[in-house]
């Protein structure tokens, strides 16, 4: 174990502890750290935006090959229209840019979601039911689970009689599914804390961990 000599690691350590003080109560250090990160995050993004997108995706194509890229100026102006949103009187101008992005985004999405989100998902559910192989009829469980959960979210018939029974089965499947999410989420939250502990032990105190 040897303490880190890198001043950056100590800066990170200081801010890490500042945040942990929030567990005790909201305080000056926590608020300071929170605003520092907001500012640096925004600054990071602005630089990246300028360096990579404005220069890389807009200026470079225009400056190297103006002839075939000049039309990019039109959407750029439309993008600038968006800024009119902060002037209430002219805010409506931003609607053209919005309408264009929302409309084309919707058009892009529609067939692709049908294919990837509906048809391919349906196709994967069309399974043969057999009890011979190692599956032990898992396919049957998958199909029953999918169907009954779908019926639970079916709103045109009251949950009574047979449909009610199937919907009831569906809710059990859903609960098991949520249980899986729950279990995994616990793991996720702990991983984040473990990550910080690892940082403190390994980077700050220089412990040899693996």
């Amino acid at each position: 174990m040897h303490l880190s000599t890198d001043p950056w690691v100590w800066i990170a350590f200081f801010f890490t502890l500042s945040i942990f003080t929030f567990l005790w109560k909201d305080n000056f250090l926590y608020k300071l750290a929170e605003n520092v990160t907001v500012g640096i995050g925004m600054g990071f993004w602005i630089v990246l935006w300028w360096n990579q997108t404005v220069v890389g995706q807009f200026w470079t194509p225009l400056s190297t090959d103006f002839g075939s890229n000049f039309h990019l100026i039109i959407p750029a102006i439309m993008g600038l229209f968006m800024i009119t949103r902060i002037i209430p009187k002219y805010a409506w101008m931003s609607r053209y840019a919005l309408a264009f992005t929302i409309g084309s985004g919707a058009g892009f999405g529609l067939p692709r979601v049908i294919q990837g989100g509906v048809l391919q998902q349906l196709y994967a559910t069309l399974l043969p039911i057999n009890f011979t192989s190692v599956g032990l009829g898992y396919n049957l469980i998958i199909i029953i689970g999918t169907l009954s959960s779908l019926i639970y979210f079916f709103f045109s018939k009251e949950h009574k009689g047979a449909i009610g029974g199937v919907a009831k089965l569906g809710i059990w499947f859903l609960m098991i599914g949520f249980g899986a999410t729950f279990g995994y989420t616990v793991m996720a939250r702990l991983s984040l804390f473990i990550g910080r502990v690892l940082f403190i032990l390994k980077d700050v105190f220089g412990m040899h961990l693996f």
């Binding site: 409309g103 998902q121 059990w172």
Partner: protein, 215 residues
């Protein structure tokens, strides 16, 4: 009225329909539309981003000038922005530059730590709130426990019954994830897929227009 309301809706409708139809048409013209639409979309987005920066800066400057509560922190936030721009200008955006170090050791550290607080909240909630209120909640907590044990090495260590050929926590967790969980999540995914498709259609048809903002 036409310019402010109808025209945007017409633009949405046309661009939506054109892009949907484009998907099914392999013609050169259709590919041309696709390629240029992507370029246009990107260019709009690039400049629309200024809006975000502008409102960020405006909010903080307003706070400072109005001496709103905690306005001192706004100075900190704005200083952070300036610091990053200066660092990038002088030192570049490479790994060893100040720009990258500021981000990695300050911003990333703080953000990671803020979210690591959730580990404490979830343990406190586990003790104080996650109750088996109904038989369904029992099923949920049981599945959760199995998945939790099945996902960590100690779960298998405890599964002494594997000697008798019974599935270990790991196997049970894998089964839960791949069979009942998969079935439930597939149903949800199919529902969500349909929901988003109808939303998309409502947008294209001009039924859903909250995005236009007030008025």
């Amino acid at each position: 009225m036409f310019w402010k309301k109808q025209l945007p809706i017409i633009i949405v409708f046309l661009s939506g329909v054109i892009m949907t139809v484009q998907y099914f048409v392999p013609l050169h013209a259709s590919e041309f539309v696709f390629d240029n639409y992507i370029k246009w979309g990107i260019s709009i987005g690039i400049f629309a981003a200024i809006l975000g920066y502008f409102s960020f800066i405006r909010v903080h400057i307003m706070k400072i000038t109005k001496k709103a509560p905690n306005w001192g922190y706004s100075i900190v936030a704005l200083a952070g922005v300036v610091l990053m721009i200066v660092a990038a200008l002088i030192d570049g955006t490479d790994t060893n530059g100040y720009y990258m170090k500021f981000y990695l050791y300050i911003c990333a550290s703080i953000n990671a730590t803020v979210f690591s607080l959730l580990a404490f909240y979830i343990s406190s909630a586990a003790y104080r709130a996650f109750r088996a209120r109904s038989s369904q909640a029992v099923a949920l907590l049981l599945a959760a426990t199995i998945v939790m044990l099945g996902r960590v090495p100690i779960g298998d260590y405890f599964s002494f019954w594997t000697h008798w050929g019974l599935p270990s926590f790991y196997d049970m967790a894998q089964w839960i994830l791949n069979v009942p969980n998969m079935a439930a999540k597939r149903a949800i995914a199919l529902g969500v897929g349909l929901g988003s498709l109808l939303m998309t259609l409502k947008l294209i048809l001009g039924i859903e227009r909250t995005y236009l903002g007030g008025e």
